[in-house]
């Protein structure tokens, strides 16, 4: 109540200032007239009375000023005046203003750009109600960092035992082949237990969720459509409920439509179908190949859930053999989704912040020099009665004005660079987020905050220094030499050393990331990606023999397509982040025993796979047409497997069980070279290869080696497949080189971005060194002139100044290298093939910076040595 009135009064004072002034005038005039009347009444002649009244009133203007002060407008008023003055001062030195605003714009623009990504990926919550209560649950081998998918047995136990969850859902994502007007299409499908929508806190926009009954074994041919798919296939028809969706093996009744934008993890499903679980025997639907999402009860903390799940896991480990040595991993869903992007975004944020600090330090230096140049002006103002705080305020407002311009330019820059980066990085920065990336209110607020803090940070110290003038001193000696100057010089030197050090740290980081990238490019994959094209095949729920026959027919048909050299399949392609971990069991172990070795990958391939991928067969033979579903089981292993488990070198001919202890014994018939299956940076894992023709899977990937450009063959290959089976859809047509490109995109991005920022930093630091030295030369022109006139050699003068600059550069290099060494641990997770203390990188960084700095130092030093004594002295 009271403050609203106050605000109104103050706003009135500010906006209707002329009216307020008039009223003030009238009020004081009224008082004066009364005073005059009083004096007249006391017998004074009117003329004298008027004079006496005026005398008593004192300076009317002073009174008015005091009233204005009381109204609290003086501060705002002078703020306005200072801003106008600041604008005028900046207009007067366009060169300085341009450099200042440009470097601020670069610094702030870079920060806003990266912050836009940080905001979208790390800060903005997931778009679901109560999204902070969404968690993802996975299983985690004890004493291991990695996590694995969830076993249905455990899901059923968790759901029965855990009290922390409001809802818990188990899902799997086998694709679905649907029949459209132009052939079969493979769509993204999620199979789920009944509570999925409740976990995400949403409800279908049309129809209903799955009932508990529908997620029990039995034939429940129902489907909920994804929102996008509903629009794409049914034109968003609201009467879609009850209609049927044709799939390769029958049809499904549509019972609902999911809300727009619902993503299960990162996937936006086209269709949802029930995942039937038999509570009496959950394991009949599979093993550790499911994802689990949960919604916590309100008020339940992540720590409490973790504690509860740990207790449950240890109980289950005693109860079930399959849970021996396994724990539970619980993470907030958002945190889990952004886990890959987070370290990089943090690194980039630190990098751009450093660039901004360098820009600010540079500006602080410039402002100090400007402060010295304007000392006369300040001295004059001080002698006219300006207080020191008033001068400081004036200067800080100048830097505020600068940084607001810089901020505005920075936002404009960020608007462009953000869009460019979204396109260029193709998702490498935004893993886990599918929201549009763009400048929003949070980002603009961030920019405003950064700009203001910047202004204070780089404006305050120079302002304080510049305002420290003694009028007579400044008016007397217009060129330096005083103690204030020396102190200022020392300070600027320190700023320049700081800048150099920071720039060197960034150069070192850029160098390390560039070397990481070049190590990654040169990494030996173990196979040849060039010339191969791949596509996903979902074989549907055919019986095993039919799945074998289908793949055989497809491979035979595809291999006669012109331009195709050879074709084969593998369940999970290398470099896609997918694998099937399991153990293996030696001959003599019985069913139910713990596996002989872990971790072991289990790969399901067709004959000819190693030839297609150009993976060398080191010992024995590769799978071929002799190995069929009705012949004795055979296996191949990779070199790591052979060396680790059969160090005697006699892996060939040994008999083991792979994938499950209930599998029949199979003979190792060959050893192949290692492949970096799980990514460029992960060492090859011991791997067992089983044959699709003997143990057919449901999902596989066709891999085709072609003679020409593989991407142009894809259409012909697809036609060939549909000639074999009209209902067979394919998905994800991609060359192996594209997968390699994806794997390299993030390291490439880091290296490129950090290098760009490091170059910016080096340029700014070089400008800083140059600026300081050029200033020193200007200050000492007089002295240098005298020295030259007295016979000093020009070379001597050059060396003198060059040495001064070189000392700063060397000091900066030393500090920078030490800081970089101190920060070794920070980025080590992003490095590969190079250690964070790599001496070569440090040397290169130092060399690069020295070369740039050399130019920055030489120019002013040379100018000093070319001073003409006559000219230098004449100016005095």
């Amino acid at each position: 109540m009271r403050w609203t009135r106050k605000l109104r009064l103050r706003v009135r004072s500010l906006l209707r200032s002329s009216q307020v002034e008039e009223e003030l005038d009238e009020e004081l005039r009224y008082h004066r007239d009364h005073l005059v009347e009083d004096y007249v009444a006391a017998g004074m002649p009117p003329e004298d009375a008027r004079d006496a009244a005026l005398r008593e009133m004192g300076g009317i203007e002073q009174r008015k000023e005091e009233c204005r002060d009381a109204r609290g407008i003086a501060f705002l008023d002078s703020l306005r005046k200072d801003s106008t003055y600041a604008l005028r001062a900046l207009r007067k030195s366009p060169g300085f203003s341009f450099v200042a605003i440009l470097s601020l714009a670069l610094g702030i623009g870079a920060n806003t750009t990266i912050f836009t990504f940080v905001n979208a990926v790390l800060l903005r919550p997931l778009p679901y109600p109560g999204s902070d209560r969404l968690v993802v649950l996975r299983e985690q081998p004890l004493r291991s960092e990695g996590t694995v998918n969830v076993h249905p047995v455990n899901f059923v136990e968790w759901r029965a035992r855990a009290r922390a969850f409001e809802a818990l859902a188990l899902v799997q994502t086998p694709p679905l082949n649907v029949m459209g007007s132009n052939g079969a299409e493979q769509i993204a499908r999620i199979q789920t237990t009944s509570e999925l929508f409740r976990v995400f806190g949403v409800a279908p926009v049309l129809g209903r969720e799955f009932t508990e009954e529908e997620t029990r074994p039995g034939s429940h041919n129902v489907v909920i459509l994804g929102h996008g798919f509903w629009h794409r296939w049914f034109g968003g028809d609201p009467g879609v409920l009850g209609r049927s969706l044709a799939v390769s093996d029958g049809s499904l009744t549509i019972i609902g439509v999911a809300p727009a934008g619902l993503r299960i993890g990162v996937m936006e499903p086209d269709a949802y179908t029930p995942l039937p679980i038999n509570p009496a025997n959950p394991a009949e639907i599979g093993s550790r190949s499911f994802q689990c999402y949960g919604r916590l009860k309100p008020g339940m903390s992540l720590g409490a859930v973790k504690a509860e799940m740990t207790v449950i896991a240890s109980a289950l480990a005693r109860q079930y053999r399959l849970d021996e040595g396994m724990g539970v991993f619980v993470s907030g869903l958002h945190e889990y989704l952004v886990r890959e992007g987070r370290p990089a975004l943090r690194l980039l944020m630190a990098v751009v912040a450093t660039v901004l600090v360098i820009a600010c330090v540079n500006l602080a230096g410039l402002l100090m020099a400007r402060g010295i140049a304007r000392r006369g002006e300040f001295a004059l103002r001080t002698s006219l009665g300006a207080s020191r705080s008033r001068l400081v305020r004036q200067l800080v407002i100048e830097s505020l004005v600068l940084s607001m311009f810089g901020g505005a330019a920075g936002v404009a820059l960020a608007y462009v660079t953000t869009r460019a980066l979204v396109v260029l990085t193709a998702g490498a920065l935004t893993a886990g987020t599918t929201d549009p990336i763009g400048l929003d209110a949070t980002c603009l607020f961030f920019t405003l905050a950064v700009s203001s803090v910047t202004a204070l940070a780089f404006g305050l110290v120079p302002a304080w220094q510049a305002s420290h003038v003694e009028p007579q001193m400044a008016l007397r000696e217009r060129t330096g030499g005083g103690t204030a100057d020396r102190r200022q010089h020392r300070m600027r030197s320190m700023l320049v050393v700081t800048e150099i050090a920071l720039a060197v740290v960034l150069l070192v980081s850029a160098g390390l990331l560039l070397r990481t990238f070049s190590s990654l490019v040169r990494v030996n994959l173990g196979f040849q990606p060039a010339g191969t094209v791949t596509m996903g095949l979902f074989l549907g729920l055919r019986p095993p023999e039919a799945r074998v026959a289908l793949i055989n027919q497809i491979l035979e048909r595809v291999e006669v397509v012109p331009g195709v050299e050879a074709a084969s399949t593998i369940q999970f392609l290398p470099l896609t982040g997918m694998n099937c971990g399991s153990g293996f069991w030696l001959e003599g172990q019985t069913a139910g025993d713990a596996p002989a070795g872990q971790p072991t990958d289990c790969s399901l391939v067709s004959r000819g796979y190693f030839a297609v991928m150009r993976i060398p067969v080191l010992e024995g033979r590769a799978f071929d047409g002799r190995d069929r579903i009705d012949t004795s089981r055979v296996l191949m292993v990779n070199e790591s497997f052979a060396r680790r488990y059969f160090p005697d070198g006699r892996a060939l001919g040994r008999r083991i069980r792979a994938h499950s202890s209930k599998e029949p014994l199979a003979e190792i018939i060959g050893v192949v070279g290692d492949v970096r299956h799980n990514g460029l940076t992960s060492e090859p894992v011991p791997t067992v290869f089983q044959l699709h023709a003997q143990r057919p899977g449901y999902i596989t990937n066709l891999v085709v080696r072609t003679t020409g450009d593989p991407s142009t063959q894809a259409a012909a290959i697809r036609r060939a497949i549909q000639e074999v089976d009209r209902t067979q859809a394919v998905s994800g047509v991609k060359t192996m080189e594209q997968y390699l490109g994806d794997a390299l995109s993030r390291p490439r991005l880091y290296a490129t971005l950090v290098t760009c920022f490091a170059v910016m930093a080096v340029m700014l630091a070089a400008v800083g060194v140059y600026g300081l030295l050029a200033y020193v030369v200007t200050q000492r022109t007089h002295e240098i002139g005298i020295r030259l006139a007295l016979g000093a050699a020009r070379g001597r003068v050059f060396l003198d100044l060059f040495g001064q600059g070189a000392r700063l550069v060397i000091a900066g290099l030393v500090v920078g290298v030490l800081v970089a060494l101190g920060l070794r641990g920070v980025a080590s997770t992003l490095l590969f093939g190079v250690t964070a203390g790599d001496p070569l990188t440090y040397l290169m960084a130092a060399a690069v910076f020295s070369a740039v700095a050399c130019a920055a130092v030489t120019i002013p030093a040379r100018r000093a040595s070319l001073v003409e004594p006559i000219n230098a002295l004449r100016y005095e």
Partner: protein, 109 residues
């Protein structure tokens, strides 16, 4: 004549509030009333009066309104607000305590 600077800091505010509490008044009348009520002891010059009035108005303790005055000219009348009434009570009580305390000290033994 007692100049306002001789007044204890903040006392002028108290005097103004007290006087305005009687009835809405313009600046000149406030100064006159203070003089009369203090038996001509306290003379508040306009150099202190008007800034104080504007400050009290900003604080929301008094409200201003233009109205015709006794000599038919427009004058700015100040009225005590409810917040001002509360402030007056507090300030007056404080003043009582303070003046009592001072007279205890100053009183000849």
């Amino acid at each position: 004549m007692s100049k306002p600077t001789d007044l204890v800091q903040g006392t002028l505010d108290l005097l103004i509030l007290r006087v305005v509490a009687l009835e809405p008044m313009h600046g000149w009348a406030i100064a006159q009333r203070i003089r009369q009520m203090s038996n001509e002891q306290l003379r508040v010059g306009q150099s202190a009066l008007y800034p104080a009035l504007h400050k009290l108005e900003q604080q929301g303790w008094i409200e201003a309104e233009w109205a015709p005055s006794e000599n038919n000219r427009r004058a700015k009348y100040y009225t005590l607000t409810s917040a001002g009434r509360k402030a007056l009570k507090v300030e007056a009580a404080q003043w009582e305590r303070l003046s009592a305390a001072i007279s205890l000290v100053v009183k000849p033994v």
